[in-house]
């Protein structure tokens, strides 16, 4: 006991910086109770096998994480009632009998290290501890409540699969296995997060994905040295190359079909326990503009929509800045009749055009944020109030001109067309920047701002693949599925920029 107390204090000191490590402690019930005993969900029972006072054992588990029915039927019952234990006179005999398979249970592990036992118990196993022998058996009896697979909330499609990822990693990997029934699908698991001990599954097609890409992803995942992996940004920021740019460099999806089709293209997927989304590396700009719906419609329809989406991307980015430029610096660029309409709308409004646009943009951002944070029902009220206050009352009070409201509304609508919220957020930031430079020196500033943006895009690469691929580089194959989507029958090869092992997708 004295030994344990000393060690415990030592461990306590470093617990925040390092992962928990009690390797100096003996594997005994007392030690485990000292570590976990203060928790209300820590349950233990001390039992004598077949009522033999010489063979004492402790059964421990975390309530809520396990299926107690399984424990009672398959662990406790054999220990108490199986006649095979009648012969054992010591703990050593009991261990031997269990080892031989008397308690038949699919996932049984023999542990001699206290750390392993703690890991198992905390992930939903029950442990049977033999104090004198410092040995334990753990049985995987996970039985916590989990959300069932529901429809995707942000990536809806009309024609396509309706399942989505859930918070449980095993359910997610099983969903993928169901879609790709190939032995080449590799799902490797690793634990990340010193405190959270979050399992992360690295998924890839062993016969397709480029080895160095897989190695790089594995290396980055293993290098993650962070306290917890509960929110996505913790995880993402460790994986991306360039942390200064707001543009997303790793894609996420909540749709297993999208995830799987990316794996089949040769990309590497990551499924994180506790997140109903999966990540796909590398993420290029094109991927954030593609939507799953694109592949479930006729290619002419999809191409038109894809092209509209690209146009919308530039509209949402440039429209406010362009509007400020032409109304403040280059009035001759506006068609004559439109000039008079804008002037008529602007009359009596006290603010310069730039201030008007900026106020509206900020108001719009506030409305979006307010709508996000509030419960669904109150959220609707906010948008109604916002639309009335910003839209109508402000215009009627001559605080804003209707033309500006239309411009910012168009900007907002086009920003919602973006399938990726991450991309939309990055565009939001740049939109403000461009509006500010445009208000200083007009179209010249806008051009320079756009120049910088394109420079940043060109410079960026993720996992060695240019961010603007296939628009830069020599990936002609991927171009078939870029600005327009050609018929799937023409896409016979996998994207060249991924440098996959098996380039041929179909004959």
């Amino acid at each position: 006991m004295a030994n344990y107390k000393g060690n415990y204090k030592k461990a306590d000191k470093t617990i925040l910086e390092e992962t928990f490590d009690y390797k100096d402690l003996d594997l005994t019930f007392a030690n485990i109770e000292a570590i976990l005993g203060s928790n209300s969900d820590f349950i233990y029972r001390r039992i004598f096998i077949r009522n033999n006072r010489d063979v004492e054992t402790s059964v421990i588990y975390i309530d809520g994480m396990v299926n107690t029915q399984l424990i009672s039927d398959f662990v406790m019952k054999p220990l108490m009632q199986s006649e095979q234990f009648d012969t054992c006179s010591s703990e050593l005999d009991a261990i031997k009998i269990i080892d031989e398979g008397t308690i038949y249970y699919a996932d049984t592990r023999k542990r001699t290290n206290i750390n392993d036992v703690l890991d198992d118990v905390l992930t939903g196993s029950v442990a049977v501890i033999f104090n004198k022998q410092q040995t334990a058996f753990t049985f995987e009896t996970k039985g916590f409540d989990k959300r069932s697979i529901t429809q995707p909330t942000t990536e809806n499609v009309i024609k396509g699969a309706k399942d989505s990822f859930v918070e449980t990693i095993r359910a997610n990997t099983a969903t993928c296995r169901r879609k790709i029934k190939s032995p080449n699908l590799v799902i490797e698991e690793t634990i990340v997060g010193k405190q959270t001990k979050t399992p992360i599954a690295i998924c890839y097609m062993k016969n397709i994905a480029n080895d160095s890409l897989v190695q790089e992803v594995k290396k980055r995942v293993n290098d993650i040295s962070v306290d917890n992996v509960i929110t996505a940004s913790y995880f993402e920021s460790f994986l991306v190359d360039n942390k200064a740019t707001p543009f997303p460099q790793i894609m996420y999806t909540e749709r297993p079909d999208r995830f799987c089709s990316n794996l089949l293209d040769g990309r590497v997927g990551l499924i994180v326990d506790g997140m109903p989304i999966a990540f796909i590396a590398p993420g290029t700009l094109l991927q954030f503009v593609q939507a799953p719906e694109d592949y479930s419609q006729h290619y002419l329809v999809s191409s038109t929509i894809r092209y509209t989406r690209f146009t919308s991307m530039f509209i949402t980015l440039l429209l406010p800045a362009f509007y400020i430029s032409i109304t403040t610096f280059h009035q001759e660029m506006i068609p004559t009749e439109l000039t008079f309409s804008i002037v008529a709308a602007k009359q009596g409004v006290p603010f310069p055009m730039f201030v008007e646009v900026l106020l509206m943009l900020i108001a719009f951002e506030l409305l979006v944020e307010a709508g996000l944070r509030l419960p669904f029902i109150i959220g609707q009220t906010v948008s109604i109030v916002g639309a009335l206050v910003v839209g109508q009352a402000a215009v009627e009070a001559k605080l804003l001109s209707p033309a500006t409201v239309i411009i910012v509304a168009t900007t907002a609508i086009t920003s919602f067309i973006m399938p990726s919220q991450d991309l939309s957020n990055a565009l939001r930031l740049w939109r403000f920047g461009l509006a500010i430079v445009s208000s200083i020196i007009g179209m010249y500033g806008l051009t320079m701002g756009l120049f910088l943006l394109i420079y940043q895009w060109c410079k960026l690469d993720t996992f060695g693949i240019p961010y603007l691929s296939p628009f830069i580089g020599d990936d002609k194959i991927q171009l078939q599925d870029s600005l327009f989507r050609l018929p799937l029958t023409t896409m016979k090869q996998r994207p060249a920029s991924l440098d996959v092992k098996n380039k041929q997708r179909m004959k």
């Binding site: 001759e332 008079f340 309409s341 804008i342 709308a345 009359q347 055009m353 200083i440 020196i441 007009g442």
Partner: protein, 395 residues
């Protein structure tokens, strides 16, 4: 951290280069709110006595949609100023103008008759030099009035003057008796030796139509050209001569020709297509030029009771319309030769065909032009007679 600082430094250097090396000393000098500028639509330039220029600009009063519903008529704003030159007059406005004049939307530049007689090139220098003006602004001459007074007289109508002019200009194709000449075209012709230009002429008559006639409003007419010797107004052409100019210059889009049916009743022909080509050539008889005109027409209206929709009838009409066009063209050609004014730019046609003679042509053109033998060839086709083969007057 150091890497970020380095990046920021690089970025700031880039920004300094972008913004400081633009060679614009005042980057923000052009900045002005859209509701504080005077969006000039029309400029009127008149010569005053004592070598002064009267400079008038006008724009439409901006009325928003909700105000418009109340039925207020479109009003215009006019700013007038004087100065020794156009530029000075334009700048003098700054002393009292309630908005900054902006010329990016100038569509029409109008000169008074007296001013045009004095020469218009001196007034076009500022306009062609200033960066705000557009070269596709159209030039007009006002017949029998000053440009400033023209603007003031017609400013009272329900439609703003510039909008009215734009509509009249768009409709002028139906008559093809006038047309539009842009600043760029006029400056190009003024810069050439031996070529005279022509500009469309506007004149006003008391309104004949509807409510406006009671208010003392005016109709604007656009149906002829004025011709210029160098940059000075030489003469106003009548409607027939003006259409002759358009025939030769291949500017006919549509027009009407009245011909007679065999029973001497009128038949209106609607010209729908035209192609004029000028073929200069040189032989032992000196400079010669063939002007060949090919046009198509429809029968738009007939009050003849005779059946004209057969080969003989159509040939009869065709012959008449060709004769009429030939006469019109010959008339304007002889007029031009008589006045020794090459308004068609025939000299360019010769120079292109005979480049070795370019200098000789240029030096001797005033002597050569009246001596050119013009040969007018007209070919026409009546290609659509519509489905009705009888006149409404025939029983």
């Amino acid at each position: 951290m150091e890497a970020i600082m380095k990046k920021l430094l690089k970025l700031s250097i880039l920004f300094i280069l972008f913004f400081m090396l633009t060679s614009c000393s005042q980057l923000m000098s052009n900045r002005s709110e859209i509701d504080r500028i005077f969006n000039t639509r029309i400029i009127a330039i008149d010569k005053l006595d004592e070598n002064k220029v009267l400079y008038t600009i006008t724009t439409k009063t901006a009325v928003s949609g909700s105000q418009d519903k109340q039925g207020s008529s479109t009003s215009s704003e006019i700013l007038v100023s004087e100065g020794a030159t156009v530029f000075e007059a334009a700048r003098n406005m700054a002393a009292y103008a309630y908005k900054r004049p902006h010329y990016g939307h100038t569509e029409f530049i109008i000169f008074g008759e007296d001013t045009a007689k004095d020469g218009i090139l001196q007034y076009l220098d500022f306009i062609s030099r200033n960066q705000e003006f557009r070269y596709n602004a159209k030039l007009y001459i006002v017949q029998g009035d000053s440009a400033s007074s023209f603007i003031k007289k017609v400013a009272t109508g329900n439609i703003f003057l510039a909008d009215r002019l734009a509509i009249i200009e768009d409709n002028s194709f139906a008559l093809s008796k006038s047309g539009k000449v842009t600043l760029a075209e006029a400056l190009f012709i003024f810069s050439k030796d031996n070529v005279s230009t022509f500009l469309p002429v506007l004149f006003i008559v008391p309104s004949k139509s509807g409510e406006d006639s009671a208010k003392g409003a005016y109709d604007i007419n656009l149906k002829s050209y004025a011709i210029f010797k160098e940059d000075k107004l030489y003469a106003f052409l009548d409607e027939k001569l003006s259409r002759g100019v358009n025939w030769v210059k291949n500017r006919i889009q549509s027009s009407t020709i009245l011909v007679d049916a065999p029973d001497k009743k009128k038949v209106s022909m609607d010209i729908i297509q035209n192609k004029t080509s000028i073929k200069p050539y040189l032989d032992e008889n000196g400079l010669q030029c063939t002007i060949s005109i090919k046009f198509n027409s429809n029968i738009a209206e007939t009050i003849s009771k005779e059946d004209i929709f057969n080969k003989e009838g159509l040939d009869y009409l065709k012959q008449q319309q060709e004769d009429q066009v030939k006469k019109e063209v010959e008339k304007i050609l002889s007029y031009a030769q008589e006045k020794n004014m090459d308004i068609f730019g025939i000299v360019s046609n010769f120079s292109i065909k005979y480049p070795m003679m370019k200098n000789e042509l240029r030096e001797n053109w005033p002597k050569l032009f009246p001596e050119i033998k013009f040969n007018v060839e007209v070919d026409s086709k009546i290609n659509r007679t519509y489905l009705i083969n009888e006149s409404a007057t025939s029983k």
